[in-house]
C-alpha cells in the first residue's frame, strides 16, 4: 500500500508539473469555464447523495477532497 501511495503521489506531482505549463487564460476569456455545466461537482446536493451511496456501498472513499469514512452508522 505504501508503494501504491508513493506512486499515486508521484502521479499527482507529475500531473501538476505537466499542467503548470504556463497556460494563461485571460480572465475575460473564461466564459465557458465558469458555466455551471463545467462545475466539477455539479449540483452539490445531488453529488452529496451520490457520494454517500458510493462510500457506504464500496470499500473506497476519498480522493475528492471529501472526508473518507465515518460520520454515519452505515459501516
Amino acid at each position: 500500500m505504501k508503494r501504491v501511495a508513493a506512486r499515486a503521489l508521484s502521479a499527482l506531482a507529475l500531473a501538476a508539473l505537466l499542467c503548470g505549463g504556463c497556460a494563461m487564460v485571460p480572465q475575460n476569456r473564461r466564459k465557458h469555464l465558469g458555466d455551471p455545466m463545467m462545475s466539477p461537482d455539479g449540483d452539490a446536493l445531488l453529488t452529496a447523495g451520490q457520494r454517500k451511496l458510493y462510500t457506504s456501498r464500496e470499500s473506497a472513499a476519498g480522493g475528492d477532497a471529501a472526508p473518507a469514512g465515518g460520520g454515519c452508522g452505515c459501516q
Binding site: A23, P40, G42, D43, A65, A68, G69
Partner: protein
C-alpha cells in the same frame, strides 16, 4: 454530507457582488475588487444567494453474507429503502464571507436486517438495535464558511453534526485555497476531523455503553486552466481512522450454523488520488472525465472511472453519466468462518471483491424571473447502480431551487 474543498471554494464564487468571474466554477475564485480598490458598488451587508431543496429516494435490494435475514449460511436480504430530503441555503456577508448550510434527513427502512427474526411484525425487537434495524431516522446539519482572505487566498471552516438513533457524529474541518498566475492555477488543502460516538450492542442485544471511532482526513488538490475551454483537476486524500471501525452488531456466518461477531482492525489508513478533466464542447455542452485510484491498509485496492456528458438546449440542460468501479476485497473478507478461529473476519459485501456500475440521467430547467437576473430551477435525476455481488440501488431525485 461533507463539503469538499471544491465545493467550499465554490462558495467564494456564488456571491454576485464584487466578483469578476462567472458563478459555477470553484477554481476560478476571482479577486473581490474592493480588496484592492474601493468600488463604487458595494455589496449589501447580508443577502441570500441561493436556496435549494431536494428529495431523493434510494431503493436498494440484494443479498449479502453480513445479513442474517435469510438462510443459516447466508446470504441474507439487504433490502432497504431510504428517503432523503435535503435543504441548502447559501448566503453572503459583504464581499468576503460566504456561508453555506445544508440540512438533511435520512429515513431508512430495514436499516440493518441482520437477524433471522427479520420478518416478524413491526414492533417486535427485530434486531439488537431494536427500531433502528427496521426504521431509522438520521438527521444531519452541515455548515461551511468561506472567507476571502486576499485577492488570491481563501480560508474556510466546516462543521457538521449527524444524529441517528444509535449514533452521534461531530465533524470539524479547515480548508484553504491559493491561486497563482492570474488565477489560472489554484492549490487547495483541507483537514477534517470526525468523531463518531455510538451504541455498543453485542449480537445478543446486550448494550455495553458507547463506543467511539475517529476519522482524520487530509487533502491536497490543484486545478489548472489549460485552455479557455479546458480545466484539469487533481486531488490526493489521506485518511486515518481509529477506534471501533464497525457497527458492533455486525455479524458473520459461522460453519456451525451460528453467527459470530465481525472483527475488524482498530486502525485503517486510506489513500486516494484522483484526476478530473472538464472540457467545454462547442455545441453548448460539457464533458467531464474522472479517475480515482484507492488503496487502504485493509488490503483493498480500487479503480474508479466516471464520465458525464451535459448538453444545454435553451433553458433545458440534460445530463448523462456513467461510472465504473472495481475493487479487491479486504484481506479478511469471507463468506463463512470457523467458529474456533480467532482473528479478523468480515462478511460485509461492501468490502468484498466487486465491480460496480452506475448509469445516471438528469434534466434541469432554468427559468429567469424578473429583470435582476434571478432564476428558479427544477431538476430531476435518476441513477441505476448495480454490483456484481448481487446488489443494486435505484435512486430518483427531484430538486427545486432559487438563485440570485
Amino acid at each position: 454530507m461533507r463539503l469538499p474543498v471544491a465545493g467550499a471554494a465554490l462558495l467564494f464564487l456564488v456571491a454576485p457582488a464584487a466578483r469578476g468571474e462567472p458563478v459555477g466554477n470553484p477554481f476560478l475564485a476571482p479577486p473581490p475588487s474592493d480588496l484592492d480598490q474601493p468600488a463604487l458598488v458595494s455589496a449589501p451587508r447580508y443577502r441570500i444567494e441561493s436556496v435549494a431543496v431536494r428529495t431523493t429516494t434510494f431503493d436498494q435490494d440484494g443479498l449479502g453474507y453480513q445479513s442474517a435475514a435469510g438462510p443459516v449460511f447466508g446470504p441474507g436480504s439487504e433490502r432497504a429503502t431510504i428517503l432523503e430530503p435535503q435543504c441548502e441555503i447559501v448566503a453572503a456577508l459583504g464581499d468576503r464571507l460566504i456561508e453555506r448550510v445544508v440540512t438533511s434527513v435520512d429515513v431508512v427502512t430495514a436499516a440493518s436486517p441482520n437477524h433471522r427474526l427479520y420478518g416478524l411484525p413491526v414492533g417486535t425487537p427485530v434486531d439488537v438495535v431494536s427500531s433502528p434495524s427496521r426504521i431509522n431516522e438520521a438527521e444531519e446539519i452541515d455548515s461551511d464558511s468561506t472567507y476571502a482572505w486576499s485577492r488570491t487566498a481563501t480560508l474556510g471552516i466546516h462543521a457538521d453534526y449527524h444524529l441517528e438513533e444509535p449514533l452521534e457524529s461531530w465533524g470539524l474541518g479547515a480548508l484553504a485555497t491559493r491561486s497563482f498566475a492570474g488565477d489560472n492555477t489554484v492549490l487547495s488543502g483541507s483537514l477534517y476531523q470526525i468523531v463518531d460516538w455510538f451504541d455498543n450492542f453485542n449480537l445478543a442485544g446486550k448494550r455495553f455503553g458507547r463506543d467511539v471511532r475517529t476519522t482524520t482526513n487530509a487533502n491536497l488538490g490543484f486545478s489548472q486552466l489549460l485552455t479557455p475551454t479546458t480545466i484539469v483537476l487533481g486531488s490526493y486524500g489521506f485518511t486515518v481512522q481509529a477506534g471501533t471501525l464497525t457497527n458492533t452488531w455486525n455479524s458473520v456466518p459461522l460453519s456451525d450454523a451460528t453467527r459470530g461477531t465481525e472483527v475488524v482492525p482498530r486502525e485503517r489508513l486510506r489513500h486516494a488520488v484522483s484526476g478530473r478533466l472538464l472540457q467545454w464542447l462547442p455545441w453548448n455542452g460539457a464533458l467531464k472525465l474522472g479517475y480515482r485510484l484507492y488503496a487502504d491498509s485493509w488490503g483493498s485496492l480500487a479503480h474508479t472511472a466516471d464520465a458525464e456528458l451535459s448538453q444545454r438546449l435553451g433553458r433545458l440542460t440534460l445530463d448523462l453519466g456513467g461510472r465504473y468501479h472495481r475493487q479487491s476485497a479486504v484481506s479478511f473478507f469471507g463468506t463463512l468462518f470457523d467458529p474456533a478461529a480467532l482473528g479478523l473476519r468480515t462478511a460485509d459485501s461492501d468490502l468484498a471483491p466487486l465491480v460496480a456500475h452506475a448509469l445516471s440521467a438528469g434534466a434541469r430547467w432554468d427559468q429567469p424571473i424578473g429583470p435582476q437576473g434571478h432564476r428558479i430551477y427544477f431538476a430531476i435525476n435518476g441513477e441505476h447502480y448495480w454490483r456484481t455481488n448481487n446488489l443494486h440501488v435505484d435512486f430518483v431525485s427531484g430538486a427545486l431551487g432559487w438563485q440570485q
